[in-house]
């Protein structure tokens, strides 16, 4: 048994050697190469396909979680869309790094004067991966499939095109083989943006009943195999309708849940791109000449939801007090390493309709205490929920929660940090079981409706309105804005809604973060999209 003790001593020695080694390597890396790679240039011309011949290659994309299902119409999670974007195409798509509407399967479109009829002219000569032809009829069948399903089945279709039980899309008809006409029951301002969203990808009607695990689309890559909780393999679609694309021969999406393990896999060369980089690792990636740090353009909000129908947050003064109590800037400096902007409103300032006149609740513990005293808050303990997994809008929920807990303690509020497994967390929060909870949202289409209505309208209590915020005033404005086609009037409505939301303080808007991605320096033309997922059509590996 003595032997055991000696082994322990030996371990001690090994550990201390390791410690010393770490210190010296830290000092040695001061060079600042690789930073030029972080310039996320919106280079429209990068579509040029002629310069390199047969680059090809295999790209392994490391990400935090596995796909839920490969049918984009039935899922809501970013990790599913990340794959489906490569297998399917949508009628319209977004700009490479923005949310402007661009042609895709529909090469042109016209809108009637009254905003009720949309006519799409489709690309010709496009085939699905199973060899069937893509045509107007296929589009109609896809929309009919979604319209026939329930809200649980096709969440996004129902959230975008159904309102108060009434369908926005009256009919979808094939005028001829390459022309589709959509007729709406009422004008919908973000209609084109909605159509461009990843869930509304056109699948082969012949494959409708097997899309979940055997997707068939028209996209740049064909599905090969899916090893659950491990990897999804795609191969080049040689018959892709855009000539000379895609550049890669094979794409493999690997799920590596732990952020540090994923970065390790990148440095050891197991993977080529690692999503979800801890901000604290940014500098070491920048100083490594074999890696590049890529910033995803920010279009998200990380927030602290205060469940509006639960004590003590059923009192608006308490909610305002919490807003005053939290030191956002310091939290951002510490746990986002500055890769974030403090949030004021429930949506990022790049989205049109953002109200810049609102200045936000400044950090003021004294004011918070005064408000709490006014509200008669008696110091009762409440639960502060922290998400268990890193999210693009918040790299480390646990740490942020711990800092917030301390901020609140300073003004006399006692919070107990609680966490659950991710799916349970969302489910329970959706049921309104949390007192205060951290959560966030990455925009789907860059429209104000997708933030304000989706997250804070009383219609969405029980789905994305986790805070159970219910304001009739805001509801009226938000619903009015949905069918307002005049851009200026519409923005004005959103600005008014933000004033009301600001006063009611259903959340503490925390940060608009810039998600970080690391890639090998040999990866070229990878342009991450603000919506959180993108097709890898133009990407190549040197």
């Amino acid at each position: 048994m003595k032997k055991q003790s000696w082994y322990m001593l030996l371990l001690l020695v090994v550990l201390s050697v390791f410690l010393v080694a770490c210190n010296s390597s830290d000092e040695g890396t001061d060079s600042n190469e690789g930073t030029e790679d972080t310039d996320t240039t919106t280079d429209e011309g990068s579509e040029g396909t002629t310069d390199e011949g047969a680059t090809g290659g295999v790209l392994v994309y490391g990400r935090g979680g596995d796909t839920v299902a490969l049918d984009p119409a039935i899922v809501t999670d970013g990790e599913s869309f990340r794959v489906t974007e490569n297998v399917y195409d949508t009628l319209l798509t977004f700009g490479e790094q923005d949310t402007t509407v661009q042609p895709s399967l529909a090469k042109e479109w016209t809108v009637s004067e009254d905003g009720l009829t949309y006519t799409f002219m489709l690309e010709e000569g496009v085939t699905f991966h199973d060899g069937t032809t893509f045509n107007a009829d296929a589009v109609v069948q896809n929309f009919e499939r979604w319209a026939a399903g329930s809200a649980e089945q096709f969440y996004y279709y129902n959230s975008m095109f159904m309102s108060e039980g009434e369908s926005v899309i009256a009919s979808v008809e094939a005028q001829d083989d390459t022309t589709v006409v959509f007729t709406l029951t009422r004008p919908q301002a973000p209609f084109l943006k909605n159509i461009a969203m990843s869930p509304f990808a056109i699948a082969s009607p012949a494959a409708f009943d097997q899309l979940e695990d055997n997707p068939v689309g028209t996209g740049p890559f064909k599905f090969v195999e899916w090893k659950r909780n491990d990897s999804i393999t795609l191969e080049k679609n040689t018959a892709f309708w855009k000539d000379g694309l895609p550049k890669l021969d094979r794409v493999i999406f690997r799920a590596i849940p732990d952020n540090s393990a994923r970065l390790n896999a990148l440095t050891t060369g197991e993977i080529d791109i690692a999503d979800g980089i801890n901000p604290s690792d940014a500098t070491s990636i920048q100083s490594n000449s074999e890696l590049q740090l890529i910033e995803r353009p920010s279009m998200n909000i990380g927030y602290l939801g205060l469940t509006n129908n639960r004590a003590p947050f059923d009192d608006v003064k308490v909610r305002q007090a919490v807003n005053h109590a939290i030191d956002k800037q310091t939290i951002i400096d510490a746990f986002f390493q500055g890769y974030a902007e403090p949030a004021v409103n429930p949506m990022p300032s790049t989205i049109s309709g953002y109200n810049e006149e609102i200045t936000g609740y400044e950090y003021d513990p004294e004011k918070a205490k005064a408000l709490l005293a006014e509200a008669g808050y008696n110091g009762e303990e409440f639960e502060l929920w922290a998400m268990p997994v890193p999210r693009p809008y918040m790299p480390d929920g646990q740490k942020v929660a711990e800092a917030i807990q301390k901020n609140l303690e300073d003004v006399g509020m006692k919070a107990k940090i609680v966490t659950y497994e991710w799916a349970t967390y969302l489910e329970k929060a959706k049921n309104g079981e949390a007192d205060a909870f951290l959560l966030g949202w990455t925009g789907d289409n860059g429209d104000a409706d997708n933030f304000l209505y989706t997250l804070l309208d009383k219609d969405n209590i029980g789905s994305n309105n986790y805070a159970y915020y219910s304001s009739d005033e805001a509801h009226t404005l938000l619903v009015q804005a949905q069918s307002e086609v005049d851009e200026d009037k519409r923005n004005e409505l959103y600005k008014q809604a933000q004033v009301i939301i600001h006063e009611d303080a259903p959340w503490v808007p925390l940060a608009h973060s810039t998600p970080l991605i690391a890639a090998k320096s040999t990866v070229q033309d990878y342009l991450p999209h603000p919506t959180g997922s993108e097709a890898l059509t133009n990407v190549s590996v040197k």
């Binding site: 003595k2 001690l12 770490c22 540090s260 604290s280 690792d281 070491s284 510490a334």
Partner: protein, 292 residues
């Protein structure tokens, strides 16, 4: 500790405990272990008076500072003094180690004595329960128990206590079985002494030596198990400065701020080393087979 007077008295008036202490004293390595244990226990008792800072004095402008004159072991990602947190964490580790083992010893010894002395169907049932508990890898069983009870320090303590019960139970049972055959027990029975008295006054004290050795070593294991549960988020909850939890929280800073992870790790290691060395020394000192 336990005073034993019923053992047949030797000529030189040297009891087995005194004899053991003499042998223990001669063992330098065991003394080092005992010193480490004494030091950690001292920290556990007087930590709040020694630690320069409190448990949760966050200062986000001073995060991840390397060791310096002001912060001897550096600061963690909330700008808290790691030195202070390690000192204050000693109390948690020692408490979990000590109390969980006490619970295991009390329950295990009781079951072991009953099983060993009475035998029969009681013995069969108790022994099979021990077998079932021992069939699971101990940490898995602990995780399962904590998942049922809910993650907290107290529940981690209970889980660790439960998984260690069979170790003590079996130890005591086998000891009781052999003592039962001793002549002085026969004698006690012959003069008509009641079962209860024989059990608790004669058999129990005489079977305590291996329990004490095993107990010291079990504290070491319990501390590691508590740290493992803490690391997995199933033990102490933030902001408690539990060492395993500190390790887990610091692991993303392994490369850029190694002091945040190395020092809590060393604290666990040194403490466990101390208990192991002391336990080994006790074993050598108290084991009658080791006598010249």
């Amino acid at each position: 500790m336990v005073q034993v007077t019923t053992e047949p008295v030797m000529e030189k008036e040297v009891g087995p405990w005194k004899e053991g202490w003499r042998r223990f004293r001669k063992n330098k390595i065991a003394l080092v272990g005992a010193a480490i244990v004494a030091f950690v226990v001292f920290l556990a008792l007087f930590g709040p008076f020694i630690a320069p800072q409190g448990v949760n004095e966050q200062d986000l402008t001073k995060r991840l500072l390397p060791p310096s004159g002001e912060h001897w072991l550096g600061t963690d990602d909330f700008g808290r003094d790691i030195f202070s947190r390690i000192i204050l964490g000693a109390r948690i580790s020692i408490a979990v180690g000590f109390f969980s083992v006490i619970i295991s010893i009390v329950v295990g010894t009781f079951l072991g004595v009953v099983a060993g002395y009475y035998g029969g169907w009681l013995d069969t049932i108790i022994s099979r329960i021990f077998d079932i508990l021992l069939a699971f890898p101990s940490i898995l069983l602990a995780i399962a128990i904590v998942s049922i009870l809910g993650p907290s320090l107290q529940n981690a303590l209970i889980a660790i206590a439960i998984i260690n019960i069979p170790n003590f139970g079996r130890l005591v049972r086998s000891k009781v079985l052999s003592i039962k055959q001793e002549e002085y027990i026969m004698a006690a029975k012959a003069i008509g002494m009641k079962n209860n008295r024989i059990l608790w006054r004669h058999i129990l004290p005489n079977s305590m030596t291996p329990v004490i050795v095993q107990g010291t070593l079990a504290i070491a294991t319990a501390i590691i198990e508590a740290a493992a549960l803490g690391f997995l988020g199933l033990g102490a909850q933030i902001p408690t400065p539990e060492w395993g939890k500190m390790l887990a929280d610091a692991r993303i800073y392994l490369l850029n701020a190694p002091w945040t992870i190395v020092f809590p790790g060393l604290a666990i290691m040194i403490t466990v080393l101390g208990f192991n060395l002391m336990g080994d020394g006790l074993r050598d000192a108290l084991d009658p087979k080791m006598k010249n």
